[in-house]
């Protein structure tokens, strides 16, 4: 593998992690706000 390919191969995983973190975080806060509006615990 070339140096560029290896660099992409190593650094793409933290990028995917960042996307997952955004998806989970956004969903959690949406649910949290909804629970708060309804006056109950999120869980």
């Amino acid at each position: 593998m070339s140096t560029i390919a290896l660099t992409v191969y190593v650094l793409i995983w933290p990028a995917v992690v960042a996307v997952v973190l955004y998806v989970i975080g956004r969903a959690f806060f949406t649910e949290w706000l909804e629970a708060r509006r309804e006056g109950r615990d999120i869980i």
Partner: protein, 554 residues
């Protein structure tokens, strides 16, 4: 290679980090604490938690300290494809269980443990086999996470290994004890944010601090041809293949997954488990890349122990502020898994121990909660005691994972096929273990005809594993077709050689023997089971459920 000196924390720094981490986690858990907790909520949080919190919880639970260390070890040992052969198959364990999870939820929507459903389907012996394997897995996992905590604290601070173990065990018990699974799931979100956020920063930081990408060129000579190729047969046969064989076994044998299958809102199972697959895979493979970087740098693991590679890379290349973040990442990973193990163990004892002993109608929710909390304390004490023995965790897990292979077909078939009986389940599992153990430990010489028999059974095992994976998504016809084609395709390469890989062939033999025996006995049964019975037999223990746990959506 000129490697910078490693950083260490002082006593005060470590105490402040641990007090802040466990203090904040405890405060979060008190936000949802109730003076009188609900017994069902303590185990499954009312069966209706949302996507964000359940995806975070599944991700955090499946990521543990050992998975990060093992992924890096795989990268260091097998080269650039190593982390893939650890993290990808570990991630698929989450993905491949969800179709079965949807079926299990359909037949037992209010269940607390998989073993409880097995009792309703078959009876006591099947339940005890599954519950027993779940308990063994969770105790090993709990012990492993305490060991990882003790090792990390002793490596990065003046504290001893045992002091580190006690700090982690006490911290996890503190925030999990009162609210059980609800506390575990809620705190998982905070822990997953800390873990995933840390990886996003730490991996690139080490990459550039260690003089990559230039070091790829200067270090290329240190790699063998197998380590330098993405398609390494060494990595596949020694790391990947045994893990593919374990994909369904770990998922079936682990109560922490089953608990989340029963807890998440039923229509969100697919979305939750698919997201957790990406979260786990990317995180574990990403951290595993630190092992690949260490290989290129020609670094020798401290004390010759490859488990030290990840902390060593962090302590060598990260500035103190990012090293604190790394410390929190590992503590978060092991705590989120340890609290899930405590919740899993308490659920099994509450449901499969007390609940079944007195009967669902006679079970007292208060007594049940007390038993759950006592279980957590006893399990923590036992895991601390075992942790001081410092056993080889990965060896134990590979062994237990292969043992779980004996359960996979009988458990899955029990949810779909109305001919499977308690007798078929029990005899098939015992028969599989009776063949697995001699093969795994080479108690009989695997030569000549015996070797060929093991190879043939292993080839059938390959068909069973791949067939079941396809069956979950596409049904019986596709599963049978893929299983048959896979076995026929593998036969020319496997027969005559596969028995030399004892870990892999023993695991495959466990699958094939349990499948063959369970199928043969079940086919003779004419008394067909009515699956709607399970829904009537399995339900809430606590009548206050409706008042205590409001629905998560209107």
């Amino acid at each position: 290679m000129n490697v910078p000196a490693e950083v260490q924390f002082g006593v005060l720094t470590v105490v402040v980090i641990l007090v802040l981490f466990y203090g904040i986690t405890f405060l979060i858990s008190t936000r949802i604490g109730k003076k009188q907790e609900n017994a069902d909520g303590y185990m499954t949080a009312g069966n209706n938690i949302g996507f964000g919190i359940s995806a975070a919880s599944m991700t955090a639970t499946w990521i543990w300290a050992s998975s990060m260390y093992a992924s890096a070890t795989s990268g260091y040992t097998y080269g650039i494809s190593g982390p893939i052969h650890y993290g990808l198959w570990g991630a698929l364990m989450i993905l491949f269980i969800y179709p079965f999870g949807r079926r299990i939820r359909a037949v037992a929507p209010k269940a607390h443990t998989l073993a409880e459903v097995m009792y309703a389907r078959h009876g006591r012996s099947s339940q005890l086999m599954l519950a027993g394997s779940n308990v063994v897995g969770s105790v090993i996992s709990l012990m492993s996470n305490f060991i990882a905590g003790g090792a990390l604290i002793s490596l990065l601070s003046p504290f001893s290994f045992f002091q580190g173990v006690l700090a982690v065990a006490g911290g996890v018990l503190l925030y999990t004890l009162w609210s059980g699974f609800r506390a575990s799931v809620l705190t998982d979100f905070v822990q997953v944010v800390a873990m995933l956020g840390a990886v996003v920063v730490i991996v690139p930081a080490i990459f550039f601090a260690a003089d990559f990408p230039a070091a790829f060129e200067s270090g290329a000579a240190t790699l063998t041809p197998q380590q330098g190729t993405f398609f390494s047969s060494d990595a596949f046969l020694n790391q990947g293949a045994p893990y593919i064989a374990a994909v369904l076994a770990y998922a079936i044998g682990n109560q922490t997954i089953a608990q989340r299958l029963f807890a998440v809102r039923e229509d969100l199972i697919k979305k939750t488990f698919a997201t957790a697959t990406f979260g786990y895979g990317a995180m574990v493979i990403g951290v595993g890349m630190l092992g690949v970087l260490a290989l290129y740098l020609g670094i020798d693991p401290a004390g010759g122990d490859v488990n030290n590679l990840v902390p060593q890379m962090a302590a060598t290349y990260l500035p103190p502020a990012l090293l604190v973040l790394f410390f929190v990442m590992i503590i978060g990973a092991l705590s989120s898994t340890a609290d899930s193990d405590l919740s899993a163990l308490s659920s099994i004892v509450m449901t499969d121990g007390y609940g079944q002993a007195v009967g669902k109608e006679n079970a007292s929710p208060r007594t049940m909660l007390l038993i759950g909390r006592i279980t957590m304390i006893v399990a923590t004490a036992a895991a601390v005691a075992f942790a001081s023995l410092q056993l080889s965790i990965l060896d134990l897990l590979v062994f237990v994972g292969a043992l779980w292979g004996a359960l996979v077909f009988p458990v899955i078939a029990s949810f779909y096929w109305n001919r499977v009986t308690n007798k078929a389940f029990t005899i098939s599992v015992v028969a599989a273990l009776a063949v697995f153990l001699p093969v795994r430990f080479s108690l009989v010489p695997l030569e000549g005809a015996v070797g060929i028999v093991v190879d043939v059974l292993s080839v059938i095992g390959i068909g069973v594993v791949l067939g079941l994976m396809v069956f979950g998504f596409f049904g019986a016809r596709a599963g049978t077709l893929v299983g048959a084609v896979a076995a026929l395709a593998a036969a020319p390469f496997a027969i005559g050689t596969l028995h030399e890989y004892t870990t892999l062939s023993a695991s495959l033999v466990a699958y094939s023997v349990s499948t063959i025996v369970c199928t043969l006995i079940s086919m003779r049964n004419t008394d067909l089971f009515d699956f709607s019975v399970i829904k009537r037999r399995v339900g809430d223990f606590d009548p206050a459920e409706a008042d205590d746990l409001a629905p998560a959506h209107s």
